[in-house]
Symmetry: D2
Subunit: 500 residues, 4 copies
């Protein structure tokens, strides 16, 4: 667990933050040590941020989109240059292993490339009009300041997903990061500002960072000058934001809880299943919204699958995320650990057979390393239907694929899902209207690890938002339907006559 936090901060150019004496204490989950005590934004700072964001928007919206794309291209270049340092900082602050820290930065880079391409598209439609000498078209325009609320587990990628699209679309951005990962946010903000300096003509305050507790987020969510709120986090948080936003008809993009299942069919390639389950269930110590939380296994292969998966669980290396041999790092904090303990105890009460789940490295009182847990359940009880943000994999048995799909769907969340099979009929059923009800449905890969080319997000309590690829960019723009009469007559739609 040896590492030099100062050096990591320095490599990211944020060593000066360690000198602050503000109220926001930042600890690394690696050993619980304090990294910084950061200053936070006041209500007045936040008000200024909104005012400046409105001003930036008014200027930015008239900058041609391909020119806006050039800013994002430069951002991608800067991120490439900073990948190693930023990936390490993410590991330090979140406890995810370095491979995943780097993968997260790669995702930022990928979305920049994608957004640059979009900057010469942002396609609306020209549409056939029913009236002579009339032309119809649909155009897309920027909205205004976009609030981006991010969670601790993807402290930098989620901002990039949102900001790259929002900025290319012509919006300004205000970022309220998790209070658990303000350093990663600060480092990214610095990269963004460096990019703007290089770009030359970006308006001031184009993307701003508002550090602080929940009140700042609430202030921003309430403010009617902020037409768009993209929030990633718990269903509880999302519900509160949705309520406030709906009162003022703000648009929301919600990426909330997941409770993602994998179904293992008789014909599945078992070695592939085991590897997929391992990464999907234990990766990021079970703290991804797309983490595999439920494994639904056909009775004919149940014993074999469970025993193989357990073998992997036994061998997996737990340790400092900065140590390249580690595959699982610590939980984010004590609260996460308590939730896990509670969930395992509830599962036991429901008849579950628990394997693993013990705390390790208990000599570090402020760090919470755990063995990932497998819990064999007889039924999909309440605790299974609940998202516990920890490495617990519930295992259930099924006999028919329809039953397996019903189990998959019978939870309040609707983010991601997987099917493992080589049978195309099972696969097609799972992907059909009668199949998985999730926003993501995969075959022969786990539920986590989406590519940025597809739309990311889910249904039901997951919140319905979509980010990243496909036409997700439309969520950051408003649509205008235009009808232009270039004739001298005034025919009415639907053939109405109004004899003036």
């Amino acid at each position: 667990m040896d590492f030099d936090a100062k050096e990591i901060l320095a490599r990211n150019g944020i060593e000066h933050l360690a000198a602050q004496k503000g109220p926001l204490q930042v600890r690394t989950p690696i050993d619980g040590r304090v990294l910084a005590n950061l200053d936070v934004a006041t209500a007045q700072h936040t008000e200024m941020a909104i005012q400046n964001s409105v001003k930036a928007f008014k200027e930015w919206r008239t900058v041609p989109a391909p020119r806006r794309g050039e800013l994002i291209r430069l951002l991608g270049e800067e991120l490439r240059a900073s990948k190693a340092a930023l990936g390490e900082l993410v590991s330090l602050e979140t406890g995810k292993i370095l491979q995943e820290g780097l993968g997260e930065v790669q995702e930022m880079i990928d979305i920049c490339d994608f957004a640059v391409g979009l900057s010469r598209q942002l396609y609306g439609l020209t549409i056939a009009s029913e009236r002579p000498n009339h032309r119809m078209m649909e155009t897309w325009h920027p909205m205004g300041p976009c609030l981006v609320v991010t969670a601790f587990n993807f402290p930098v990628a989620v901002w990039a997903w949102n900001a790259a699209l929002a900025l290319v679309c012509g919006n300004s951005v205000i970022w309220k990061p998790s209070e658990k990962t303000p350093l990663s946010a600060a480092a990214v903000q610095q990269i963004f500002e460096r990019t703007c300096a290089r770009f030359g003509t970006a308006p001031a305050a184009l993307s701003q960072l508002v550090q602080g507790e929940r009140e700042r987020g609430e202030q921003l969510v309430r403010d009617s000058r902020v037409p768009l709120i993209s929030a990633t986090g718990s269903t509880r948080m999302g519900r509160e934001i949705a309520k406030v936003a709906s009162e003022r008809f703000a648009r929301t993009i919600l990426e909330l809880g997941g409770n993602n299942a994998g179904i293992v069919c008789p014909s599945a390639d078992l070695s592939l299943v085991v590897r997929a389950v391992a990464f999907a269930a234990m990766g990021t110590a079970g703290q991804r919204c797309t983490t595999l939380r439920r494994l639904i296994v056909h009775s004919s292969v149940y014993d074999k699958v469970v025993s193989e998966v357990k073998k992997v669980y036994e061998q997996v290396r737990i340790g400092s995320p900065l140590d390249s041999a580690s595959m699982i790092g610590p939980l984010i904090d004590k609260g996460a650990y308590s939730s896990m303990v509670k969930a395992l105890s509830a599962a036991k009460e429901d008849g579950g057979r628990v394997f693993g789940g013990e705390r390790v490295y208990a000599e570090l009182p402020d760090a919470y390393y755990v063995k990932p847990a497998i819990v064999e359940m007889k039924k999909q009880t309440d605790i299974v239907c609940h998202e516990t943000f920890a490495p617990i994999l519930y295992v259930l048995k099924y006999d028919t694929v329809e039953e397996a799909i019903a189990l998959n769907n019978d939870v309040p969340q609707g983010l991601s899902s997987s099917l493992f099979t080589t049978d195309m009929r099972e696969m097609e059923l799972f992907l059909s209207a009668a199949g998985s009800d999730c926003g993501i449905a995969n075959v022969n890969i786990g539920p986590s690890g989406a590519e940025i080319g597809g739309a990311f997000g889910g249904e039901k309590e997951t919140g319905g938002g979509r980010e990243s690829g496909s036409d997700s960019w439309k969520a950051y723009m408003r649509r205008a339907t235009n009808t232009i009469n270039f004739g001298k007559d005034l025919p009415l739609a639907q053939g109405i006559e109004f004899g003036v």
Copy 2:
């Protein structure tokens, strides 16, 4: 004002409803006479409707979409056959003139044609994957029972806009019409059921009608088995629905208030302006959500435009909507009239010069015919920013096109807008990101009277929903992102290595 209500009901095959003795009193605004006292749905009826709708959905979603389209094609045929009768009933119940009643039915027919075409599209995407031997695609699936809440002013078209798309997309439908126009709804429901009988294999309860007061709507809005709520009506109502729906993460399509402006530029074709303003401001007695409510006129043509428009206002024929000579029928009810009186009085207090607005046919105590009003305002005061659902046209003066656009945008609503000009620079500015902030922005036609090929709806307090053309159908489906691994390896996205 002479007409035979019974015969109109009979022509629509709903004469039996006149015999009911329920609590829902229906009056025609033409002379205020009672048309029926309808039975209403109880809470239990409504619960059954939901249960049946879920059942219908489970069956309907697996019916191939082109076959679903065939149902809608037949619906279009039935509507064509019923156009004259239904148009007349709409006039009787809403007071809109027959031309508009017929136009509304035509809109139902048009959306059916459009939806039939969609039934062989419902296009998702196949997407390039970053991983070898992986395939990505995006598919669209039906959601479940869709609640359609409609307002009195378009008592049948709005249901058709929603139902035609929702049904082709594979959903079931529950319709809660305005309590002011239950007869039109009943007639349409009958046409729909006749269509299903002809179709042969539609599930029972595919689209149901729930008549009654507000409580029934609330029950439906709260119910978690209803994943989609499409509501047309006031901003007040929309706000309440949005709040309840957001608590349970239901999707909403909101079509709420408008406060639509027309800008008249110096180069505008005045004769065209006058005709466009006449229909847009006085049509449907000012009771369209897209009614022209604010006329913003360049100072150089202000006097001429206002005097020409006044001339038309003086000549317009007010009378029974069933009389083909009438161009303006009655307001829907006393409440509407009171709002108009209040608004005119407030406008006067704000310095407005009122022209017209007097009640006519006062000999009919329960019918509210008014002369459409023009109110010349010095400034865009509070009352101008408020949507009064009556034929009041506020007139404002401007000097620069930027100023006119700012006036256009400076209201809480964001539905529709128009510019009258022959100058392409003004036109393009108005249609650009720095132009109108509305969902609809037209040139040389009024703000009302959309074609069904474009997406219909607006921003800000208008609620953000889109219905009808373009890709509005996506609002009735859920998107699934699929990644399929057909190789034997398990590469992770973003190049992550996880060495199991």
Copy 3:
């Protein structure tokens, strides 16, 4: 073989054609009897047709597309009303069984529905411009007179595929049908003219029929006033058209020969395979461009598949297509029969084992009924690579799926292909960039029988054209890229400075 040809003509309203004494002799393949001796168009008629088509186009292109769609909607209605009669006429003239005659008319109806939907779309794009105060868009405009050349085997559907789209897109149409099926064409032309009369305002000569021999087709192909040629038929004919058209830069949509394979994998559902093969190989007496001509079977199931397929071949009822018990009708004419005989003989020389292929009903000297043939081949020799328009199914054996795909691709044609499997890995490989090289690649259905929602056509010697669904309509329009400068500056693309 008893039927009343006159009555069939009468039911289609073309009994008067039987009285003509022109040079174009029409025989029914059912028993070879002469149905009519039709008049044909002269060079001068054809010249007039072109002139009139240009005139019709100039008017039609400015009719709003949704109004053009209304014509096609009415055409669909008329076709629905004429389905039984027209289907029978198609059977009479082509020899295809009544079920297929009716199916062909249904395809006409389906494409009309689809085209009506398109008529409110014909979507171009609005595109982000790199220059301030510039707007870009892409619009689609009609081309002019479209020449549609059709083959005997789909004497009516192919016209409808082309005409429905061409007309909705705003073009005029000139139809040169096969000289073997002029009666079906005449009946359809009459339906079209009836539709125009009902529509009321279509320009004269909007879609015209030019009956006659090859010279008329050549005249039309050469004429520079005809910007678009859509031709269905043999590769030989397509090659000649392509050469002439390319000289004058006319656009072509070519649907030429196919040589379609089906691959049967070890895991395939055999009962499904047998049914699919039966329809795909024997349907239309092997005279579809998408007929299954090559069956490539895995060695592990080869014997079983071949024996099962032979069983079906033995049982299939051959007879008059107008007899509802028949499943195979006659070949179109003596030439078709000779080609079949020659091909079977060549196959034998190449070592093929022939099953079936004998002539039946030889008592009818001018009718050519044959038993469908199965030919087991050791290798894919020249004759197998050649399209013989008759019911010959070559059977080949394979060991690895890569080998099967290579056989599938190793012919000059590239129209359609099928894979039968339940293994998703084989399926995905077949559908991937390394899989089938055809325009159509199906899984678990035969290569024939496309739905109109997808694009239809193929690669290599099949000619590269696409018709019917998806964005095939773009082939009937020209694309315009528009850039509009609404500012007062003149920035150049790519940042070029030119200091005037």
Copy 4:
């Protein structure tokens, strides 16, 4: 005219080419001096290139598209680094001014950015199927080796337009550049190879250069292993390629001659017109396919426009393209000059009044500098309808906008066109189905200087091809329509019954 050619070659890393003693003599048009005598490819070299290209394609097509995009991203980076040097080389070899040389490289960079974005799209469609338990989709696959034939006037950008898309789409590329600009091609090929080395895993021979005369091009055009030919150049060349390609059903993307008009309306902003005309007519010494060749001026402003344009023509600086003060460089060679002389003489015979057109710097016997010419014509005679690749601007007068549009369209070519107006009615008419018949129609900018976001190309003798933006990438891929049956039944399309 002083410059150091060796140094320019050295800066591009191709100084070694100056040492070759091959048959391909390269002269700079600046002063006619010989730059190199290059070796050329033999028939056998070319055969090897084809074989290697096929091999490269087979490997490249299975590389995931986003990874292919990474190669193009790196190519963009390398081009950014080489922009100054390559731009200068282009100026040296083509004679276009440095600003335009640099602009051409910028276009290469832009298309790379765009193609990178496409690499995560290449969207096909998922499509609603009419059959239960069936799924339809449309996927796009690479074609094979793409032949890119480029012209002297855009010696590097046209390759990049094609290669960036072709490579991202999964094809291999063979480049046959103009024999007049082999050095620029060689420099670009070197940049490409440097990029591949940096990328690491590109197959050998992914994009190859075949230098030489016409025979090499013919060999490549004839070869059936080359499924796609993208050719930019004269209509004569395009016609020959089209004929050969059509014989073997190869796909062509033809970008041939243009004869582009600008219409000046009474309301046009004259200062903007003059600047636009200057660049569009004189830029690249009139040697762009999009050069403005015909100016059609309303009679009411004719005199003023012509006199203003003449003023600019008089002031424009002619000289060495490497001198930053020059706005017009030399013609490419003697042939170009002769054509210009002939055209001016023909125009005079047709009654044209010629202004300018004289040779300058005649002291350089092998360099052909000319004053740009304005020719006032009474009618649009044959010579005006012919594309002369030189700076000749024909001026015509018109009275009605319909007449102006007819003049615009009444030439055999259909590439680009412009309208100058502030009247939105004229603008919309020009952009409508009854307006310009060209592939590009602009308003208030000249016909040249397209952005890469739109599709580039034109109709009629321009060849019909489209490159660059919008969905032009589809031209580099083949479309596959897939229907997948995952049920146990075999329903046929169009409801056909076939009772096996």
